[in-house]
Each structure stands twice: as structure tokens, then as C-alpha cells.
């Protein structure tokens, strides 16, 4: 392979090379340093005169004396069965002291889009054991459902609880977990690793670690390596794969950094205008392919800068993913775990995975009614702060109490408490039964007669 020594400029993570033979767009580049060590990069712009290379590591040590080798192919990742149980760097190199991965295949890390015509419909209910997810924001296999959190909130606990408890009731297959850390601290990473080890999940996990002190640009490829692995496990080996990506905020920061280095016209708050498309290239790599056994379910985690859900990172994510689980500082302050605020949370694929034949026929309506009642009670809290409880009508007072009850009984649960969907729905009915029946306008009469505790009991007594 020919080596060039024609670097003309180095700016941020970008290296400019002149007088090359024709180089392909997106090609993998090896940069050879004076001490013989090699850094990797990718071609961002190629022409007769100039090639722009984005380096995936720090540019420390790269100089005009460095050698440039164009590999003639786009970035590929070696994948193989023996990746399970392994810990790799954010750049895909083993860091657990174990042997190199024995590649069964080498796959392009950008991944190709699943042809929408080839997609299978995601409709297997995943029970996470968490009521605010199973009951009101149901997850299905093949969904991409991010956790929107804030600094200092227990999103890692929630993600771990999900990874631990997630199952498809009635199915024996366990999830394989692909965990990609981007720019998180060593301590956070340890928290995950210890839990994986303790619960034995590590054996069926592939871990990619780009930590806070690892190069920021490497973060650009970490999720792509993770998803390439996940696709291999899911669509070649037929496994059901749960992918946890944390923290997508750090990924986006790295994207912004590169955009700035390229002197691009910045979009909202300095993030590149193509961030939507870029993120879609990650999040859309979830789903099911017709006729293939496996699936990819994604749990990206992001921390909303300033807890602001309209910030471009959560905003663009929400526009791509199939809903979001929002972690609330207010509930956390009240000491409620998991502090999931159901009001801004949403699972768009919920309807495909619930109801008769999936969970229970009353699921949708119970969920709608819980939402409506909680939303109404929650609104009244603002009013009470101004006018006092006494100025409320009797109806309003009931809704106000409902909101407290909902938070303390439905939302709140233990870190290891694994509720079945029946338990969750029955709990919902018990809470709804504190309201007068005629206030349950979202539920049709038949279901009320069948499931409402009041009628259930009379029906039992009569029968």
C-alpha cells in the first residue's frame, strides 16, 4: 500500500492531504506516526487536489512527517460469534486482555437501511416489569425507545433494571445485550459492568467502552460498531438484541465538534444541520426483518442539557425514535423511583403490542384513562397552590388525590421489583376505582363491568 507524506494542514480532528492518487469517499485511512503507531481516520471529502481525512482519535503526534495510507475500502468491522462476553474499546479493539476477535465476517459499519418493504411489524410485547413502561408506555420488540434524562438522575439504574428484567412473556429466548458507552465516566461504566457481571448478563453481552477521557471523535464510530455487531447477532445469528447506547448527548457533542472543525454553517445551537439525518442513521438501525428470526431493540440514553426537552439533542431524537421515556427531576426530588414522568413519555408502537392476544383487552383504555386522570390531577396542583384546596370542587379534589396516589403506588416501585403486566393493569384499575365510575369516560362500559374492582366483586358475589 502506498504511503503519502503530503499532509498540508491539521485542524482539530481533520487532516488535509495533497497530491494523492484517486481516493474513494468514505475510505478508511491509516495514519502512521513517527514511532510507528497507527491512527485511523476516514475520508470526508475527496478530489484531485485535496483529500480531507477525519481522524477518529486525538491528532496528538500527527505531523507533516506522518505517513498516510489509504486502505481502498470503507470502514469494516470484524464480527464473530465469540464477541459475546467481550469488552471492546470505543474503536472496537479488545480491552479485556482477551484474544483478538476471530472474524467470521467483516461488515461495513455505516450499515445499509432496511428496505421498508422488508421490515417486519414489531408487535411482541416486552415486559420490563416497570409499570410506567409496561402499563402506559409499552415497549415492543424491534422498537427504539430512548430515555430522556438529566444530569444526576437515575437513568442508569432504570436502563439496568430494564436490561435485567426485560422478557417476552411466554418466550424462552433471552436478550443478548450490546452496550455502547460514549463519553461516560469510568465510574458510570463500572456501575454497568458490575451489574452485568453480578447478574451473569455479561456472558451474553458485547460491551463497547468509549469513556470520558477517550478521544471525542472516536464516539462517532462507537454506536456504529455497536449496531453493526447487533445486526450481526440479530440477523445472522437470529438473536433478540437489546442495544443500550449511552450517552447520546456526548455523541452529538462530538458531531458538533467535527462540524465546527470543518467550518460548516452551524444549525440550531451550533449543531450541524445534518444531525437529524446522522442520528437517523443510528436510530433507524432497530427493528425486525421479515423472515429473519432476530430483532434489534434500542434503548438510547441521553441527558437533556439544562433538562430542556426542546434542546436539539432530545428534540431530533424524539423526531426519529418511536417515543421516549422521560425521567423527571421533580419526581426524583420527591424520592420516587423510577422517577418516570408519564405525561411527556410515549411509546408509539404500544398499540401494536398490547390488547387481546398480546397483553389484555383492557390495556389501551386503562392506560388512556390513567393518563387523562393523572394529567387532570397534576394540572390542579397548580391551581391549589393559588386558591387552596377548599376552593376546589369535589370532583377536582378527587382528581388531585388521584395524582398523588398514582405517583406513590403506580410510578413508585423497587429497583428489583419486577411486576407482571397483570399486576400493573390491576394496580391501574385499583387506582381508577377511587374515582366515580361516570368519570371514567375513556373506557367503554363492557370493560368497566368486566375489570372494575367494584363490579368485579359484585359479579363474583352474584356468581
Amino acid at each position: 500500500m502506498k504511503e503519502y507524506r503530503t499532509i498540508t494542514q491539521i485542524a482539530g480532528p481533520l487532516v488535509f492531504v495533497e497530491k494523492t492518487e484517486p481516493v474513494g469517499y468514505g475510505e478508511l485511512v491509516n495514519i502512521v506516526l513517527y514511532d510507528g503507531s497507527i491512527k485511523r481516520g476516514q475520508v470526508l471529502d475527496t478530489s484531485d487536489e485535496l483529500v480531507v481525512v477525519q481522524v477518529f482519535e486525538t491528532t496528538a503526534g500527527i505531523g507533516r512527517d506522518s505517513g498516510i495510507r489509504f486502505t481502498g475500502e470503507t470502514i469494516k468491522m470484524p464480527v464473530g460469534r465469540d464477541m459475546l462476553g467481550r469488552i471492546l474499546s470505543g474503536g472496537g479493539k479488545p480491552i479485556d486482555g482477551g484474544p483478538e476477535i476471530v472474524p467470521e465476517k467483516r461488515l461495513d459499519i455505516t450499515g445499509a437501511a432496511i428496505n421498508p418493504y422488508a421490515r417486519g411489524s414489531p408487535n411482541d410485547f416486552i415486559q420490563t416489569g416497570i409499570s410506567t413502561i409496561d402499563g402506559t408506555n409499552t415497549l415492543v420488540r424491534g422498537q427504539k425507545l430512548p430515555i430522556f434524562s438529566g444530569a444526576g438522575l437515575p437513568h442508569n439504574q432504570i436502563a439496568l433494571q430494564i436490561a435485567r428484567q426485560a422478557k417476552v412473556p411466554g418466550s424462552k429466548e433471552a436478550f443478548a445485550v450490546v452496550f455502547a458507552a460514549m463519553g461516560i465516566t469510568k465510574e458510570e461504566a463500572n456501575y454497568f459492568m458490575q451489574d452485568f457481571e453480578r447478574t451473569g448478563a455479561l456472558e451474553r453481552a458485547v460491551v463497547f467502552l468509549n469513556l470520558a477521557d477517550d478521544p471525542a471523535v472516536e464516539r462517532i464510530i462507537t454506536p456504529r460498531l455497536a449496531l453493526t455487531t447487533a445486526e450481526y447477532l440479530a440477523f445472522d445469528l437470529g438473536m433478540h438484541v437489546l442495544v443500550i447506547l449511552t450517552d447520546m448527548t456526548n455523541y452529538c457533542e462530538a458531531l458538533r465538534q467535527i462540524g465546527a472543525a470543518r467550518e460548516e454553517v452551524p444549525g440550531r445551537r451550533g449543531y450541524p444541520g445534518y444531525m437529524y439525518t446522522d442520528l437517523a442513521g443510528i436510530y433507524e438501525r432497530a427493528g425486525i426483518v421479515k423472515g429473519k428470526k432476530g430483532s434489534i431493540t434500542q434503548f438510547p440514553i441521553l441527558t437533556m442539557p439544562g433538562d430542556d426537552i426542546t434542546h436539539p439533542i432530545p428534540d431530533l431524537t424524539g423526531y426519529i425514535t418511536e417515543g421516549q421515556i422521560v425521567v423527571s427531576r421533580e419526581l426524583h426530588r420527591k424520592g420516587i423511583y423510577p422517577p418516570i414522568n408519564v405525561l411527556p413519555s410515549l411509546s408509539r408502537l404500544m398499540n401494536l403490542g398490547i390488547g387481546k392476544g398480546h397483553t389484555r383487552e383492557d390495556h389501551k383504555k386503562v392506560s388512556d384513562q390513567l393518563y387523562a386522570a393523572y394529567a387532570e390531577g397534576n394540572d390542579l396542583r397548580g391551581l391549589v397552590a393559588i386558591v387552596g384546596k377548599d376552593a376546589l370542587s369535589e370532583r377536582d379534589r378527587m382528581f388531585l388525590e388521584f395524582a398523588d396516589l398514582f405517583e406513590n403506588r403506580f410510578v413508585r416501585q423497587g429497583y428489583t421489583e419486577d411486576r407482571t403486566i397483570e399486576e400493573t393493569l390491576d394496580l391501574g384499575w385499583n387506582l381508577l376505582s377511587t374515582l366515580p365510575v361516570e368519570q371514567l369516560v375513556r373506557i367503554d362500559r363492557d370493560l368497566i363491568n368486566k375489570y372494575h374492582p367494584k363490579f368485579r366483586q359484585t359479579a363474583k358475589a352474584e356468581g
Binding site: P22, V23, G24, Y25, G26, L44, T46, S47, D48, T74, A112, A113, I114, N115, P116, Y117, A118, R119, S121, G142, Q143, V265, G267, R268, G273, Y274, Y276, T277, A280, G281, E284, G287, V289, K290, G291, T310, P312, D315, L316, G318, Y319, I320, E322, L343, P344, L349, K364, D368, A372, A375, E376, L383, V387, A391, L392, S393, E438, V441, R442, R445
Partner: protein, 586 residues
Amino acid sequence: MKAQDTKTTKTGVLKRIAGPVVTAVGIEAHMYDVVKVGKEELMGEVIKIQGENIIIQVYEDTSGIRPGEPVINTGLSLAVELGPGLLTSIYDGIQRPLSVLVDKMGDFIQRGVSAPGLDHSKKWEFGPLVKEGQEVGPGTVIGEVQETNIVHRILVPPNVRGGTVKSIRSGSFTVDEVICTLDDGTSLTMMQKWPVRVPRPVLEKMNPTVPLITGQRILDGLFPIAKGGTAAIPGPFGSGKTVTQQQLAKWSDAEIVVYIGCGERGNEMTEVLTEFPELEDPKTGKPLMERTVLIANTSNMPVAAREASVYTGITIAEYFRDMGYDVSLMADSTSRWAEAMREISSRLEEMPGEEGYPAYLAARLSEFYERAGRVRTLGGKMGSVSVIGAVSPPGGDFSEPVTQNTLRIVKVFWALDAKLSQRRHFPAINWLNSYSLYLDSLQEWYDREVSPEWNSLRSWAMEILQKEAELQEIVQLVGSDALPEAEQITIEVARMIREIFLQQNAYDAVDTFCDMKKQYDMMKAIRQYSDLAYAAQNAGVTPQQILSVRSKNELPQIKFIKDYVPALAKIQADMEAEFNALRSAA
């Protein structure tokens, strides 16, 4: 997709590749010529000419392409194939059938594969409708094909001058076989090609006077769109743009539906693909898929093809309008289209306008929406294309350029509201901010087809809702018990309008579609409660008693009952009786 027209063809070489935008030299080209890029002959389109540099947007991934590879100019412009076989198809942004792509390259989208929009080997049964010696001109229907349950009319293309029919055949033909010749030597097949960026000509644009009935109460009832009209649905993520668009695709009384998934989710298209064949058109009882054309260029498919998808869709819609059909087109989301323009524009290093969008954003948007309309076709038929565009404003803030430029053009504004969707009030359309500028022109239709009372009933409901908003401000300060008696009733009636009439569950088998008669009956029942309530209050009945009338609590159930008439009549009679009892006790 093939291209159309012949100009000079020439080969040049690639000079620079930077993502979806590449530069070629040594080639003669005109703007919007379709070119083949690189050894793999990826499809692209000329979007800028700068000296000898020809700048091309490529519809496929350009990884691995090198300077020096060849570029061939086809000399044709980006065009779609129009003819039998469009219905039930699902295409990417440049009209490649996704089912064919699966056959050719598997479950994942690879590049360098071309696939024509129509199946050229399939034979269709063609029945002529004109005879030899008959005069035909652009837009004349020369025959028909029973494509699905929809009759596909075969037209003389707009760019054919016309003349007398020299020969015409009936029988089974492919779209390439000549079925008709004219005296001037023109031969016609069942297929036309049309450049997507050029609107298809019509004889004249007419005023819209008929609503597009959607079966969605808040739309038909409060903010209707006319057949041939334009509407925008802006809203933050998760507020219900896609569900509303899909509801329209399912239930609106258009004869043909073109649904464009422009830069959105793959799973949403799968949902349409699995659901539509199983749903029945409430009018014809036939599977909804049979009247539908889908265009799916999802967010992770190439951006340049996303930019083209909107034009591909509207051209197909116009073609069916030319047959005299009422077509409705949904574009989800026009913001992703605008972003594709922005991405391409920034790679061209054009001077950016507001928020980085190109300065021609407003022009492109209005050109697109202008292709909607109720028209008299070249063949003299009446047809329409209604366009409903979703808008996805960053942060849900409507002051951004795409929303603002869209609102300047469209006549109907359905404002989605995160506050409503968070409390699961669906459709989360804000009744105070939304509007329809078609109300006046549709008034007569509602008078005639629904009831002479309808228009006043509508105004009444809007007034109550408006009043409620004002009263809510007071309630926020003093609590609801402090309101005067009459206004406590107003609050209750408004709540009924919201919960009974406006809320509509797209996932309930019955409630998902509500015809105009049921809409009218429901509103009328609420009005009846309101009238009885105010009368009772005047007669001295207390608000507590009025609000606790039991029979009205049954009203929401009406939504979920298919044959609701007896149940509703009973509730209305019970309300009457309960109020009578209250009044006589007072």
C-alpha cells in the same frame, strides 16, 4: 425511474466527492439533467453549473467512489412512469419499487440498482373508449384498464398534440405496447413519462366547494379542508402528525391516496403496508390499499432522493387527477424535505437564508402546494388534488421558517399541541389556534348535505370553546366554584364538547371513523343538554343538580357504538325526563 426527452449525451469524469454532492468536469449538461455517476452508474441530477464544474446530487450512497470515475449525462430530466401498476405500489423517492429492490438486492437497500416504476412485463386488459376516426386531444380518455377496483383511465398525454385516431386495439397489453395510433404518426401506449419538477397542465383551476370528508370530527366538524385544498399539520414530535395523516389516508373520501413518507420512520411505512390491505374503504368496501400509492424514503435513505420524493408523489397525484379523480396527498414530513434542501444547499456552499435554509425555501414550498387544486382537466373532467403536509418544527416552535412559510400558503391550519397530546387528548389539535379558510365556500354543502342547522351548531360550539378559554383564566385564579352559575354550566358544556366531540380515538374500531350524520347527531345531543341546562338554571335548579344529571354521562359511550341511534335516542329522552323532574322539583 426513466428519464425523458433527448438532448446531447456526453461522458465526463468525477473531480470531487463530498457526500451526496459530487462535481464532474468534461461534460456538457443542463440543469436537472439526470446523470449516471461512477462505475456503478449511481443515479444523480445536475443541480448547479459553475464554469466547467457540473455539480450533481446523487440519489444513492457515494462511499468508495473516486475522482476520475466516469459520469454519463443521459440528457433527460428526472421523470416518473405513469400508467397501470401504480396503485398498491410502494416506491422510494425516485420511483423505484421497494418490492423489486428487495428481490434484486435483499432486505437492505444497496446501491447501483435501477428498477423501473412500472412492471413492463405485466399485461393489462385494455378496453378502448374511442373509435377510429375520432378526434382526440391532450387529456382525452382513449380507454380504460381495471387496475384494482379502481378504473385506470388511459389518457392522451398532455405533450401530445392529438389528431384523429388511426387505429386502436382492445386486448391484453404491456405498458410498452402500442395501443393506439394517430393520423400524424403518433403512437400511444398505456404509459406516459412526466418530469417530476414540472406541474402537469390543466384546463382551468376551479374554486373548491366540496369538503374532503375525513371521518375525523374535529376536522370535518370544525376545520374542514376542501377537495383540492391545502392543509398543514405542524406539531412537535409525538403530537399526532403521522396518526392524523394516516387517518386521512384511511378514511378520507378521496378516490386515490398518495402517501409520502418523506424522511420519517421505516416502521411507520411497514405499519401502513400491513394495515392498509386489511382495512376497508367505508365507501366501496374494498381494501384501502387498492386506491393507495406509497412513497417511502425514510430518514436513513439518501437525502437527495428524499428531496425528490415529494415531487414524485405530487406528479403521480396529478396524473390521477387528470383521469378525473379526487386525489388526496399526504406528505409526512415536509420539514424533512426542507432539511434535505438545506443539506444539499449547504454542500453547494450557497448563501444560507433563515436558519441555514436556502433562500428559495419559500418558493419551493409554494410551488409545491400550488400543484394542489380542484381543476377542469385537459380532457374536460373535474378532478382534484388535496395536499396535506405535516410540518415538524424544531422544539415545537411554530415561529421557524418551514412552518411560517407553509402557513403563508395553505388554507387550513391544524395546530397540534403538546399540552393536549401529553394528556392524551387526541387528535391533539388545538381548537383555538387552528383555522380553515374554506368555511365560507363549504357552508352551502353542509347546509345541503348535513343539515341547515349544522353551520350554526358549529359556530355555537366554537363560541362555547372560546368562552371556556376565557373562563379558565378566571378559574385559574379563583377556582371553579367561585364562578357564576351560568358559567359553571358553560364550563361543563365545553368539557362535553371536548371530551365527547373533539376527542376521537384512532385506535378504537368504531370511533376511528365518524360520518357526518353521527357528528351532527352527537353535537346536537350536546346542544340539547346545554339548552336544557340553561333553561333549568333559569327555573332555579342549582348547578350541582344540573351537573349531576346522570343520563349525560352515557353520552361518551356513543362514540364506541356502531349502531348508536337507539342508544342516543334513549339518552336524549332520559335527559329530557331528568331535567323535567328537576324543573318541577325546583
